[in-house]
């Protein structure tokens, strides 16, 4: 009898954590100005969720291609299509300091792909972030100025990751 979790449980626990972390983040950013970055469209389920709970936010969605369900597809002007190695640095300049919530859900079955994605987001996201912005991610990140926060109730440890970005934290670490 093994104690390891199955692939089905792994996905279920990740989704439970994702929904709990997002619910927490929606409350945290309420009343704060700023736009949302959604990295990874996939079939668009999470975009659909973001749009439902954040109806007044501009949500920009990144992916290599648009392969989402019809009712989960962003307006063309909010969709940033291409390799994230190119699109994220460009968007971080275009929207410098404006992002109040960045959600990154770009992990896959491939460890190699995941390592590449973790480095890219870690390296290029920071310039886009507003003071106090939240980063939610399915993969651990190392974003300069971002500090890891504990997960909210309902999210199993290490199934999702939350960080808060602060320029003062960055000043602190560079001293």
């Amino acid at each position: 009898m093994t104690q390891r979790i199955s692939r089905l449980e792994k996905l279920l626990f990740r989704m439970e954590a994702q929904v709990a972390c997002l619910a927490w983040a929606f409350r945290e950013i309420a009343g704060k100005p700023g736009i949302v970055f959604e990295m990874g469209l996939g079939h668009g389920r999470t975009f659909n969720h973001l749009r439902q709970y954040l109806p007044d936010r501009d949500i920009y969605v990144f992916d290599r291609e648009v392969d989402s369900y019809p009712d989960c597809t962003p307006a063309p002007e909010r969709m940033i299509v291409g390799e994230i190695a190119r699109t994220l640095p460009e968007a971080a300049q275009r929207f410098a300091g404006q992002v109040v919530l960045a959600h990154s859900d770009i992990g896959s079955f491939s460890q190699e792909h995941n390592a590449a994605m973790m480095s890219l987001v870690s390296a290029h996201l920071a310039p886009a972030l507003a003071e106090g912005a939240l980063i939610l991610s399915d993969l651990p990140l190392i974003v300069p100025g971002a500090t890891r926060l504990p997960l909210p109730e309902g999210a199993r440890e290490d199934r999702y990751y939350i960080y808060r970005y602060s320029l003062s934290a960055l000043a602190g670490t560079s001293r």
Copy 2:
């Protein structure tokens, strides 16, 4: 403020219900002889789950193609590849009366596809089933001799469906 659930929540609730229903079914069939039918391989997460919790059962998996993760792929002799309209009637004859658990997870975004799948499984599964067999499904089914059961704790109503097959129920309804 809308009360409808998002596509992300819809998938989460379905997976919660699926895992709860399977856990209940694993206990119910413990000690009873019989094989398992898994209809719909997909990426193989549920097959991985079944194999982990039912290590001594023969599990036969149906799908149009094999597109699963390497550690979620059935042995070739347990994989029944092809259109379910052809493969299910054949398999129901080959394994007549031997199936103690049939799990059907073949719904998609398309209502038309779902209606077709519901009819096919409803029409062709029964001959494979052992007396007292359980059917778990992401779509409602109408299998002759199968009676719908309430969902176990942890499964939200109408997110999954459980049926028990019994020849005596069939005799009862034909009277």
